[in-house]
Structures are given as structure tokens and as C-alpha cells.
């Protein structure tokens, strides 16, 4: 290192347009930086600053997620039509297997609506978690090229899933009407339910983005975890019919499961047969609690490693 600083000095002299002696000569790099008010590059901003930066990048987040959605289907002949076809075909496959072949509808009224609501709502959470896990690890190129609060990435990927869910919701409403449900004012409840779920998913995606950026194997592991979660969330069957013979702790766990809560609320909003006897009011409180806790935890947890995401 000493030779290097000598050449630096020689260089400065040889340039000629600089004074040979400077009052800064004796200062250590840190002292020099302090004297001229230089800040450490790539340091993590404070939490309020981070929120401000994130807010100023809201247009980027929106444009990035819109661009990803557009790019997703540009090479398909049917183009954006796949946004509608994909959920439709998903619903068809699940109905074929669970409704017609296995007939798991034991005691559930309007099973097609029950099943498809569950599938779509769970898919939103599942895909948010999966894409969130990969959001940092798969976009290292972007992270190493440009400055932006890294939380933009998991948020943008959750937005993509939200956008796809909204299309699915259109399909869902048609299916629900076709199966004999009558639109009522209660349908408006789907908006608060969706907002809470979106908030929960964003928080979870941010938390998983940090985990996924440090532990590469999460990408392989996550599909199994989300599938287990799927079977525990009452997508194909009514949890109420199962928990009667389950142990007490299992009942509590199943009742607190956020995915099951969001699915319940959506069914409550859309289906006449699901009323306050099956979905007690405290589920709304639970849904809001999960959303706020997960959003705050996910955000802070993600921010804590902000400066290290470029390392890979």
C-alpha cells in the first residue's frame, strides 16, 4: 500500500497544475472524508429516508411490474388473452379433479364457487411468496447496475400477482354468478379483503426476498412449503368439517392460518351459503392483524439487509 500512495503523490506532482503541498496531506482517508462531508457509499439509509426513497420510486415500481406483465405474454400468439385464459383453465382443472372425479364436496353448498374462490385467493399468496423469494436473487444484474431502494423488487413482483388476481377476480365473479349466486351489497366486502391480503402478501414477499437472497436453496424448497400450506388452508374442503375430530392445537393453528382467513373472507363476501355463522366477525380483526404485522415485519426485516443485496 505504501508504494501505491507514493505513486499517487508522484503523480500529483507530475501533473504540474497542483500544489506540491496541501493541508490535506497528513489526513487519513476517514478524516479527509469527514472534512469534506463525504458519506460512505452504499450505506443503508435510515428507515424514514428509506420510506421516502421508496415513495419517490412508486412510478418505477408500477412501470416495472406493468412491463413484466406485458413482456410475459408478448411471444404467445393469443397475447394478453392468456391473462384470462390461465385462471380459467386453472379453475377448470381443479373442478375436474376435485369436483367431478374425487367429489370432495362433502356437505359444501355450491362447491364450484367455493373451490374456485379458494384456488384463486390462495394462488395470489402462493405466487407472491414464490416470486418474492426469487425477486432479489434473480435480479442481481439490476441491483448491481442501478440505484433504487431494493424493496422495489419484492413490491413490484407482488403487484404483478395482484394485477393477475384482479383479472382472475373478473373470471371468478362470472363463475360465481353462473353457479347461482346473486350479487348483493356484501360483494363490496371483497375490496377490503383483497387490500388486507395484498398487504400481507407484500410483507411476506419482502421477508422471503431477504431469505431467498441469502439461502439459494429456498427457491427449490418453497414450492413444497407452499403446497403444504395449500392443503392446510381449506382450499378443497371446508376446514369446519375437518377440525371437529382434530386435536385442540391443530384447530387453533388452522383457525389462525392467514391464507385460510383471507379465503374465508372472500367466500363470505361472495357466497350466500357462507355467512357469519361460519365466518365469525373476529376473522376480520385477525385478517387486519396479520396484514399489518406481516407488512411491518417484512419491510423492516428487508430493510435491515438493504446494503448487502448486491453481494449475491
Amino acid at each position: 500500500m505504501s508504494t501505491v500512495s507514493e505513486t499517487t503523490h508522484d503523480g500529483a506532482v507530475a501533473l504540474g497544475d497542483r500544489p506540491a503541498k496541501s493541508p490535506d496531506d497528513g489526513l487519513s482517508p476517514a478524516e479527509l472524508a469527514a472534512k469534506y462531508g463525504l458519506a460512505v457509499s452504499g450505506a443503508r439509509p435510515s428507515l424514514p429516508d428509506y420510506v421516502r426513497q421508496l415513495w419517490s420510486r412508486r412510478h418505477f415500481i408500477a412501470a416495472y411490474s406493468r412491463a413484466r406483465v406485458t413482456a410475459m405474454y408478448t411471444k404467445a400468439g393469443l397475447g394478453q388473452l392468456w391473462q384470462v385464459l390461465t385462471p380459467l383453465m386453472n379453475a377448470g382443472v381443479y373442478y375436474l379433479i376435485f369436483g367431478l372425479l374425487l367429489s370432495t364436496d362433502r356437505g359444501v353448498e355450491n362447491y364450484p364457487a367455493f373451490l374456485i374462490t379458494g384456488v384463486f385467493i390462495f394462488t395470489f399468496t402462493q405466487q407472491s411468496v414464490l416470486s418474492g423469494t426469487r425477486s432479489v436473487a434473480d435480479n442481481l444484474g439490476l441491483i448491481r447496475a442501478l440505484h433504487f431502494p431494493r424493496a422495489c423488487l419484492p413490491i413490484a413482483f407482488t403487484l404483478i400477482q395482484l394485477q393477475q388476481l384482479l383479472v382472475s377476480m373478473g373470471v371468478l365473479l362470472v363463475v360465481v354468478v353462473l353457479t347461482g349466486e346473486v350479487p348483493t351489497l356484501a360483494w363490496l366486502l371483497l375490496f377490503p379483503a383483497l387490500c388486507l391480503q395484498a398487504l400481507f402478501n407484500t410483507g411476506l414477499a419482502m421477508a422471503m426476498a431477504r431469505v431467498g437472497s441469502k439461502i439459494r436453496d429456498m427457491t427449490q424448497l418453497m414450492p413444497f412449503i407452499t403446497r403444504t400450506w395449500l392443503y392446510a388452508s381449506g382450499v378443497f374442503y371446508s376446514i369446519d368439517h375437518v377440525v371437529d375430530d382434530a386435536p385442540r392445537w391443530a384447530e387453533i393453528v388452522l383457525d389462525l392460518n392467514p391464507a385460510a382467513i383471507y379465503i374465508d373472507l372472500m367466500r363470505f363476501a361472495l357466497m350466500e351459503s357462507v355467512n357469519s355463522s361460519t365466518v365469525p366477525t373476529h376473522e376480520w380483526a385477525l385478517a387486519a392483524g396479520w396484514a399489518v404485522v406481516m407488512a411491518v415485519f417484512g419491510f423492516v426485516y428487508f430493510w435491515k439487509a438493504e446494503e448487502s443485496y448486491g453481494r449475491g
Partner: protein, 265 residues
Amino acid sequence: MADDNTGAQGTGDRIPTIIVDDLHIVYRVHGAGSGRGSATAALSRIVRRKASPNIREVHAVKGVTFTAYRGEAIGLIGSNGSGKSTMLKAIAGLLPAERGKVYTDGQPSLLGVNAAMMNDLTGERNVILGGLAMGMTNEQIRAQFDDIVSFSGINDKGDFISLPMRTYSSGMAARLRFSIAAAKSHDVLMIDEALATGDRQFQKRSEERIRQLRREAGTVFLVSHNNRSIRDTCNRVLWLEAGRLVMDGPTEEVVKAYEAKIRGK
């Protein structure tokens, strides 16, 4: 800041903008192994708690120290893989340092938006997306949109800006990328081999643009293998080899020594 130094000793033009203090950068490369290891071998490694050979550490920059001042244009030279681009990324704060520190005045930016752009989208949407990714506002992008497109010359041969970027020739794509990246002015600007893109005509235009950005920016870094463009643009050169600083000084001196070394090989 400038005021308290424009004093008796006439050192007013020596305001440091970047201080790099004993910088070390270590990359962790996943999947670097031969990829032939069997599943049982992987399992036994986990049981014995040995590090996976799939994760290799690359010590790309090994203890570099220098100070850059306002108004300097600094060229970085060295053979491929000597750590030039890595160091720029660390100065920009995009790659965390393993040891050592980088102090900067304002936010240094790499001239490059490649990573934010998507080949399946039209040129138009990429201009907007790239601009937003660099931190421009919607209004700034709208105001500069026509300039960016006409600078890139994409529309010289028909309405290409409304076609997906995957239909562009590599030269056209490079020109559009440069035009977007150069639309924003920066405090500290870092250019990584950007001059070598496009045809001769575009190269001249981009060199002119870089000179203009240099005037607006406090300090400019340029990585290039083209010694001519280093001589044209820079007044100071850092020569890196295998992650270490070999030489630091005025352009002519360092480039000559570098060329002598290459010929000597």
C-alpha cells in the same frame, strides 16, 4: 464546503469527491463448481459441514486506495478481469465492500441501464422504464423523450421505436441504451466501455455527449480497453492488475508504462 478551502494555499481546485480506502471486494459465485458432483457427495458435504464447492469466493479487488478530486476524469486500465468494473460498482455503492470503505460526495452513478430494459418491450416503453429506473421523474422523461430518441438515431430508418427491442440490431440496441443512460446528468459519472458502441458516426456523437456530461459532472471514471479514448478523455489513469493498483498518475505516463508492459509480454 468549497469555501473553507479556497484559502491561502490555493488548493481550491483539490476538493475530494471520492475517497477509496483500502477497498477489498469478494464475490460469492454460486454454481461455480463443475456441476458434476453427485447427490450423495453433496449430502456427505452437508453432514461433514464442509463448504459447498459450488460457492466460490473471488477476491476481485485487493486493497485499493486512492482519492479522486472534483474536475478529474480518471481512466481505469488493466487486462480483462483485473477488477476495473467491480471497483466501479463498489464505488457506486452497488457491491458491498468486504473490507475498507468508499466515501463519496453525492450519489455516483454507473452509466448503464441495460439491466432494467426488457427485450420484449417496445423501444418507447424501454425509454420510460429505463428513465424511471435511473431515478428520473415522469415529467423529466416526457420532457427528454424526443431528445433521447433522436439522439439514438433509432428512427432514422423508419419507425423502430414502437417495435420490440428484440427486433433491433445489436448496434441499434446499444445506441438506445447509451442514449437513455446519457439523458441524466450525474455528480459522479462512471462509464464502462460505453464509447465502443454503435457505428463511427454514433461514436463521435456519444464522445461529444460524454464530454458534455463531464463538464456537468464533478468527476468522471472511464473503463476502457481503447487507449485512444482514454487519452482523449482522461487526465489521470489508474492501472489495475489482478485487483491491485499497479500505477496511478497522469494519463500519458501510465498509459505508456501499460503499453510497454503489454509489448514486453
